[in-house]
Amino acid sequence: MKSGGLALFSLGLDPLFLARAALAVPPTAGPPDRRILVCLFQRGAVDGLNMIVPHGDPLYYRERPRIAVPEHDVVDLDGHFGLHPRLAALQPLWNNGSLAAIHAIGSPDSTRSHFDAQDYMESGTPGAKATPDGWLNRYCQHDREHQNTPFRAVAFGPQLPRILAGSAPSLAIDDLQAFGLRAPQPAARDRLTRAFEELYAGSATGLLSTSSQEAFEAVQMLKQVNPGQYQPANGADYPRGRFGKAMMQIAQLIKADVGLQVAFADVTGWDTHVNQGSSEGQLAARLAEFGQALAAFARDLGDKLRDVVVLTMSEFGRTVRENGNSGTDHGHATAMLVLGGPVNGGKMLGKWPGLDPANRFEGRDVAVTTDFRDLFAEILARHLGATDLATIFPGFTPDPARFPGAIRA
């Protein structure tokens, strides 16, 4: 060490932990809680009816002469519903009870705007646009036990999504390998990192000080993780592309034991207004990538899936009836998947309203029978142990009697 300003390092004490001690955060009792929630957003409104196909309903085939998935292609789940054939990689997870699906889930708000509906699903307050933060961040605000890691809440993407916006610390990581200072050689990078760390440790105040401490701690922890050297386990084969990479990096962080509790990633390309296809085609290609990434993630995690729940969501579903362009327009309810060790899997959840026009929303779309907040609240409460759900979903009274039963008791 070259100067007195670096004395803390020479003692082997991480200044961040010293600072944290000064903040007098009460230490958590008992062993660290390793339960993890991974939220995936299918942006663009996935066609729930072609993802989880109601092949037992003749109306499905009547309304979709060109785009329905033929019964002989569907991967049957329970005699009435089945997986799209390009999601076949998920069948073993259904069979071993770690995958459940819920249909007819969505927002009580009737908007068919992607933009509004995504906003509502992420703020957790349908109809209220002024909510400043996202529900995942509010969960992190109210439950402080994991505060001693910068990796508690991580969004994989270039920006912090609405769902994680708010006062609780959360990282936005576009690429684990690129997170940190950039320099041509590792030695130059380390030097630059140290220099900025000293700058901020000695000159920053307020939020600049705490956030920079988190940043440098994260960089330090990541160095040990060595993100460039990751090999998926058990022969897991992630699909190429942004989504597969995000799932792989989430698995990597889970296995690195850096304290990840909440992870988030986007997967896009679901707005299938034109030529969406049936067993093959546009939507099938997106589902194949989606299913392959989920299956690889589960395989890669192996035993660690025991502590993990993956929740998929999408802002709304699509019209029951195919449109004039062999596609579907914006609808209302959709389907979501819940995957992981704690999941009450191998069954369809929720209440199926059927496709009878009389039971449809505004006569055209699958009606919402489960408010998305009931599913989200159940997972927060029964998986992550959240207690103050009313704060996480303001204006909503979560009622365990309405929980769809996604998590095993």
Binding site: G5, K129, A165, S167, P169, I173, L181, L199, L207
Partner: protein
């Protein structure tokens, strides 16, 4: 020298409220006050500018900035010619987007018919789609134009206020027709009124196609009303085409009569069927009264009813504002105790906007937001009161409201100096300005701003980008700022050329280098710790150019430069 001494230099203000400020005797030197004003009213100082403003008198500089039309900005005007987007009107832009979308759909259709190809091909990466590329290019041009103006304009306060109003009256560039309505929203709606009267700005946004589309008011109709197109559609015989009525049909039924009928059905289904409260709510909550402005849900509904029929020509053609009498609710409405009698049309909307523009809650709400921008994230009551008083006195003359804020003691008070964190736009632009940098017309510098978390015109929610530091300071964002600083100092940041030699000459003497960086880039605010850390880093670097790049990178990426 104290601020009141500086004030005495500026005869232009005459008997200004600064006399009151002088009793507070803030402890700012002329240089400090020049730096403070350049940090808040401008996107940071350019090389030598702190001294120039201090010498001429900071209040005189502020006075000049409040009259931007008297400031010569020829260099920027020349630069703006590189931006093709300024040459197109909304209709032409709309045409480009519609053409591009049609091309894309046709391509997708032909790809899908090619079943062998479709069966195993992965979806094409989005960047390979040329129609999407064109949309992205225009969006990139629009964003870069904002960065170039912020960096190069002499009318700095004006550009700051344009950014303020763009966020106050936020629209979302990626929502449907707003892709091509936003350019004229910026150029024709916001920019001409950025320092005018608030009521004019409010009315202009209310009638702007970009806002009508963004907050859905264009589709808000009185329940039970029937658009003339629907009557024509219903009047058409089955399996046939009705005569044209001068306007293009809503759809082209083509030759397939079954298809024609199903399309007609769809067109009828798509027609708006009732009141949409979206604009009404945001008008009250965000644009005028504020969330605690004392209105009720019933007020929101009646405001929405007043604006039924405030619509636009066909969005896909870049249509302009239209008032649709057939869609208007002519019944009586009551908004916050004021009765709007039955039988009125467009005039009652104008009346309501004027009422809202002069409502005490609006004065307080918007004044407070201005003080958040210019004084402190959590502004003291004093400057807000000063702004409200000026608003009342001048009936909402934005220029005078600003003058009141800049002459308020709170603006100059020590706790509010360097109290704000730069937004990503402010960080990137102030860094570029500090280094005398010249952004090129490619969207790359705007992409840097986007990467740091503020993609311009792409804030999805109607509240605009926030003024709170909590929204901008997070670990990933700070690391990114450090990377941007290091790249910029090394001349490696794409999209911008820097000319450091004129600002910080290379020298083998670390002390001299640090002093120059402190004076030129940090306005003398460099902390002892920062000096020590940079000095320590320089101790084993012999190459003066490398040393200079490191010192500048650390200074701009360091904590002092994040503040303003």
């Amino acid at each position: 020298m104290k601020i009141w001494a500086v004030a005495s230099l500026c005869g232009a203000l005459g008997a200004s409220p600064l006399v009151a400020a002088s009793t507070q005797a803030p402890l700012l030197t002329p240089r400090d006050s020049a730096l403070h004003a350049l940090n808040r009213l401008a996107y940071g100082p350019r090389p030598g500018e702190v001294d120039r403003v201090a010498a001429a008198g900071v209040m005189q500089w502020i006075d000049r900035q409040l009259s931007p039309d008297k400031i010569d900005d020829a260099a920027l005007t020349e630069r703006e010619r590189q931006f093709k987007i300024l040459e197109y009107d909304a209709g032409e832009l709309a045409g480009m987007y519609v053409d591009a979308r049609r091309e894309r759909q046709e391509r997708e259709a032909s790809r899908d018919r090619d079943s062998v190809g479709a069966r195993h091909a992965a979806p094409l990466p989005q960047r390979m789609d040329p129609s999407q590329d064109r949309g992205r290019r225009l969006a990139g041009e629009l964003q870069e134009l904002a960065v170039v103006r912020a960096t190069l304009s002499e009318r700095q306060l004006y550009e700051v206020m344009v950014d303020f109003w763009i966020n106050h009256f936020n629209v979302f560039l990626a929502k449907g027709a707003d892709r091509f309505l936003t350019p004229s929203y910026i150029e024709a709606t916001i920019r001409p009124r950025a320092l005018g009267r608030f009521a004019d700005l409010l009315i202009a946004t209310a009638q702007s196609p970009a806002m009508l589309f963004y907050l859905d008011n264009w589709e808000s109709v009185a329940p039970g009303s029937t658009p003339p197109q629907a009557m024509r559609l219903r009047a058409r015989p089955l399996f046939g085409r009705a005569p044209q009525f001068g306007r293009p049909p809503l759809f082209d039924p083509g030759r397939d009569p079954m298809r024609a009928d199903s399309q007609r059905q769809r067109a009828l289904e798509r027609m708006p069927k009732g009141v949409n409260e979206n604009y009404a709510r945001e008008l009250l909550e965000l644009h005028t009264l504020g969330v605690e402005g004392g209105y009720t849900q019933q007020d929101v509904i009646d405001v929405a009813r007043i604006f039924t029929g405030w619509s636009m020509g066909r969005p896909q053609q870049g249509g302009d504002f239209e008032f649709h009498e057939w869609a208007h609710d002519y019944g009586e409405k009551v908004v916050m105790g004021v009765t709007f009698p039955a039988g009125h049309g467009r005039d009652e909307g104008m009346c309501l906007l004027k009422l809202l523009a002069n409502h005490p809650a609006t004065l307080h709400h918007v004044s407070r937001q201005l003080c958040q921008r210019f004084v402190n994230d959590d502004p003291p009551d004093g400057c807000v009161d000063d702004a409200v008083a000026a608003w009342k006195r001048t009936e909402g003359d934005i220029r005078e409201v600003l003058r009141a804020i800049f002459t308020s003691p709170d603006f100059w008070a020590a706790p509010n100096v360097r109290a704000k964190i730069k937004t990503p736009l402010e960080f990137v632009v102030s860094a570029a300005r500090a280094l005398g940098a010249d952004p090129d017309p490619t969207p790359r510098l705007a992409q840097v701003v986007a990467r740091l978390g503020e993609p311009l015109y792409l804030h999805v929610a109607p509240d605009g980008y926030p003024e709170r530091e909590a929204a901008w300071v997070n670990s990933g964002a700070l690391l990114d700022r450090m990377n941007v600083a290091v790249a910029l100092a090394a001349g490696r940041l794409p999209g911008v050329a820097v000319s450091i030699d004129a600002i910080v000459p290379a020298t083998a003497d670390p002390a001299q280098l640090i002093a120059a960086v402190n004076a030129q880039l940090l306005g003398g605010t460099m902390s002892e710790n920062t000096k020590a850390v940079i000095g320590h880093q320089l101790s084993d670097i012999s190459d003066p150019l490398q040393a200079r790049a490191l010192a500048i990178g650390l200074a701009i990426g360091g904590p002092e430069f994040q503040r303003q």
